[in-house]
Amino acid sequence: MAIPKVCGIETEYGILVRGGESNPVAASSVLINAYVNDRSRRIDWDFQDETPGVDARGFSYEDALAPEVESHLVNAVLTNGARFYVDHAHPEISTPECSDALQALVFDRSAEEIVRLSMALAAPLLPEGAELLLHKNNSDGKGNSYGCHENFLVARETPFGRLVAEITPHFVTRQIYCGAGKVGCEAPGFSASDVPFQISQRADFFEEEVGLETTLKRPIVNTRDEPHCDPQKYRRLHVIVGDANMSEGATLLKLGTTSIVLSMIEDGFLGSDLALAHPVPAIRQISHDPTLRRTVLMQSGRRMTALDVQWSLLERASRYANERGLASVGDQVGRLVLSLWEEVLTGLAGDRTSVANIVDWVAKERLLDAYAQRHSVPAGDARLRAIDLQYHDMRPGKGLSARVGLRTFVSAEDVSRGIERAPETTRAYFRGECLRRWPADIVAANWDSMVVDVGRDPLRRIPMMEPLRGTKAHVGELLESSSSIADLVDRLGA
């Protein structure tokens, strides 16, 4: 049986200070500090290794040493259960753990709003005349890429080799509806005149089929084995091959289709007959061909387009839903994803414009073409690159994606609530609510534990090894009736 597809997204934003010294690390720190200092109290991230001990109930407590905190760079935990920090030279937000793709979309949108709030709070702290620019994109157009990673809970018992083989065709071809679009090309050996516009921001940067790296020789399937939960039962599949999306529909599809495909793999339902002969060249060839006509060679000797592969995956997913159900991805969300998946493939195969409200690269290409036509702009003109960048611009009023008619899938109320409050259906609820209720008593936190000060020695560490324990249904009443963190710890230990 496929296990629940708990998921989340980590996004590194492009950052630039205009009219001042542009040190991206310093700028990221100013941005994030402005936000966390505006909140009641900054709670640091705890770098201690995961606790191997597993409590049958999902958590208990144990004595703790002082948490390992890297104090030179800001790294905070928020009351919505997210992590907001400086990663390399970018500000990064990891959403809290979410119980399905639609909830993860809400928290990805909330993360965007947190970035906008941070920009507003940081503005007065900048030197006179300086402006902070943030972009939710993945490349500067000059060969430098930064990531938007997804994470999915998968069963440890599923052999990893089979998982790699069977997920790869999806990772290579899902870009036809998840790609954010890019003007030009950054793959070695290609110029912008070879590829004036391509489907994906990221495809140019993938050089291996499978591996541990994320910054060099990036692999299509990343093997980082850091489950942040019970390692006997689970893996966290760390997906580095996606683009950051502005379109809510694209984010929903990216997470939703991948959750369903992973469930099919866990259940041995998918099969391996969609394996590609050469996945690394294929991911670029598909990205470099916005006509979607390019075929790629399969291991079987057939040639298929990315659309063919996606239709096959969707047909299997539909059969899977009928025969096995969609409990692992949430039944309602699963149905929504299947119908959107069908809608988007139908549109891509026929009237492309019909999916310009869902697919980022189609929306962007349409805008670029219309602009070029109206102003007789030649290919390669800087204005087209500027439009590409500004599609992802986070400044209110400057972001072009907000004006191209993208469809919304989540309510403004949910997004706004997600800025402060954690999802109620994962352990993020426990983390977020403890932070919200007793900020002065939480010393540090990370994904699978929290270190608290109960007012007497020693500090206590509360492990949270089960992603679906610590939900509102599980601990809501306990939190409500605890008068202090010490009281809570006593009750947990009782």
């Binding site: 590194e12 030279a89 970018h90 500067d140 910054t215 539909s318 414009t353 019909s354 349409r366 690159r385």
Partner: protein, 64 residues
Amino acid sequence: MAERLHKQRQTSDRTGEVSAEPGAATEQGEKLRAELDDLLDEIDDVLESNAEDFVKSYIQKGGE
């Protein structure tokens, strides 16, 4: 659903156009076109004034 998908796919392969609800699609297409026209009318106010400089100065460090 799989059967329906298969039919749609054949249709799309043959004619290159598919629309389950032509009325709705047209209406949506018009709405998108109108929005795009509006955006093009005002885009020069929104776009960076010196695109060449802006694009040149947009340099990021690799991440992840």
